[in-house]
Symmetry: C2
Subunit: 338 residues, 2 copies
């Protein structure tokens, strides 16, 4: 995939599902300098905190690419989204999306892009000729973020840890496994979009051996406890061959995303299951911390929540968005001193 031209105009459309704005929120948080604003309709009750602009205003501000920043669990676009993307292409913008439903599968959009001479970027398209995983030990240090559920902050945690590691002078690279991460990082592989036989092999490809003593910080996906997506999480664990795991959890989340009949697992149970599965390809894997998403709490309650989990699990606990990732970086330095 060639590089996606920036800056982006973030498309929220008429989204009414806050969790479905994950891509837009991720970009607004981690790459605001790449975004000229957000384009949303009056029936969208949410903002990601950027300037609200129309399509035309986005063009005037110099946007090069419209990013479809919304997703429902099935990853499909409704007719209005497609129509807006067509309008953007006609206005001279490239269009990027990370949905299962591909932009190139929309004939009207393909025609509009061809007529306008702009490109369509389906960031979920996997690379051709991925290998199956082999599980052989490879050089380099790797950390994987794992979660109690989908959308609990695994990408945020991996990005925050990458930046904190770099700030401490470590060679460290974020490895994106989802559409938002790919748009933030500029490269990566959408693991949930590869053919099932190649999940682990895709992660081995994404995070190849490294000899510089540095770290790959790999973005986790799904949860071993999510009945829809645990296969992806399992292959990711095995392909990552992680030296270190960081468990991510959203405080107050009681039922799994999209599955109100399924309860979020306990943190100790979840961490134990992840360590057990990870040992298949990384026998010495260890947990180095917990990242809590405490957005629902005030600061005192957030600190108390971190302290409570720290007491329960005996690991550094932080909300990386609120309190930074330093405690976990310190634990990594302690556990993996040269």
């Amino acid at each position: 995939m060639s590089a996606i031209p920036t800056p982006y105009l973030l498309y929220l459309g008429a989204a009414t599902d806050f969790l479905g704005l994950k891509t837009a929120r991720g970009l607004a948080t981690f790459a605001p300098e790449k975004c000229v604003g957000e384009w949303r309709h009056d029936d969208c009750p949410y903002s990601v905190g950027l300037d609200r602009v129309t399509l035309d205003e986005g063009v005037v501000r110099g946007a090069r690419t419209l990013v479809i920043g919304i997703a429902n669990p099935g990853g499909r676009m409704d007719a209005r989204v497609v129509a807006d993307a067509v309008a953007a292409a006609r206005a001279g913008l490239n269009v990027a999306a990370g949905l299962h439903q591909r932009l190139r599968g929309e004939p009207d959009l393909v025609a509009a892009a061809e007529a306008a001479g702009v490109q369509l970027f389906d960031v979920r398209d996997p690379p051709a000729d991925l290998p199956v995983g082999n599980g052989r030990p490879r050089a380099g240090r790797r950390l994987l973020t794992v979660g109690t559920d989908c959308s609990v902050g695994k990408m945020y945690a991996a990005l925050a840890l990458t930046r904190a590691m770099q700030a401490r002078g470590h060679a460290a690279d974020f490895r994106a496994t989802g559409q938002t991460g790919i748009l933030v990082a500029g490269s990566g592989i959408a693991i949930d979009a590869v053919v099932a036989d190649f999940i682990a092999g895709a992660v081995e490809t994404l995070s190849p051996p490294r000899e510089d003593g540095g770290w790959d910080l790999i973005e986790g996906q799904g949860s071993l406890f999510h009945p829809s997506f645990a296969g992806v999480s399992t292959g990711l664990l095995h392909g990552a061959q992680a030296d270190a795991l960081v468990l991510c959890h959203e405080v107050g989340r009681e039922t799994l995303r999209g599955l109100s009949h399924s309860r979020v697992p306990g943190l100790a149970e979840c961490l134990d299951a992840n360590l057990r599965a990870a040992r298949l390809t990384s026998p010495d894997v260890r947990a180095v911390g917990v990242c809590l998403n405490t957005a629902s709490l005030d600061e005192a309650a957030a600190r108390a929540a971190c302290a409570a989990v720290e007491g329960e699990l005996g690991l550094p606990v932080t909300d990386p968005y609120r309190f930074g990732a330093a405690p976990i970086v310190a634990e990594i330095e302690r556990c993996f001193a040269a």
Copy 2:
């Protein structure tokens, strides 16, 4: 995918690789009544034990579909195979194959099929619009075969159990998850070929709720302990929502298929991990038996191997190909009495 018309003419062509005949051998073993014969050239040294017929004789015997029963290591068809498939289409046969290389990717074959009004069945193509899994409890009883490794007899076990259940008067259906099983059953979904996000959903689609008190016997894939494919196995476990698991193992297999550096897990450890993972969507799942592939042993040693595992795990153990599946069916009847 609509059902593949039977009977089949099995195509062996000029195959010189015995392992590559797996699909043809599976059909000849489990669905000989669906096969009018085998079509092989003089330079093919192997038979799968059916009558050797020409294309024309196959047509005269009433064949409806030519099944490409061979695969070379690359999963590709050479020019002679394509030419023979074209000849079969012109002779009025549908053509089915489970190769990576798709029949619909061969322009000459597509044209011949269109001209003759016959269909091409790429049995690895997943259905369009698969849902993501939801893990909600659904009606009906389901059994899944799981394994210590790939290619240890999970399809054979599921088919043998289906027939043994039927012979005891139970409503029972085999649910195929791989290409050979799909050709035996006439329908199914090649789970390893679906996009990773949809593994569990594909299995929920393959084995929908049933209200007749009968059983679905679902063919397992891969192994939770195989670093290449455990993601597939995990999604399959969760989508299957199995009431009963049968563990499959090949006696004497010491390292994982394709990964000589990885050891086959112990049976107790493997069964325990499968039960633990399965409980996410089926809390009351239980093991009902073990199927050993004892092809490498003489009969006395095979019986001794079964007895040893029975003593270790406290479950009925059989080689279904050699000794039948009755002990496991009896355990199912005991555990799930109405």
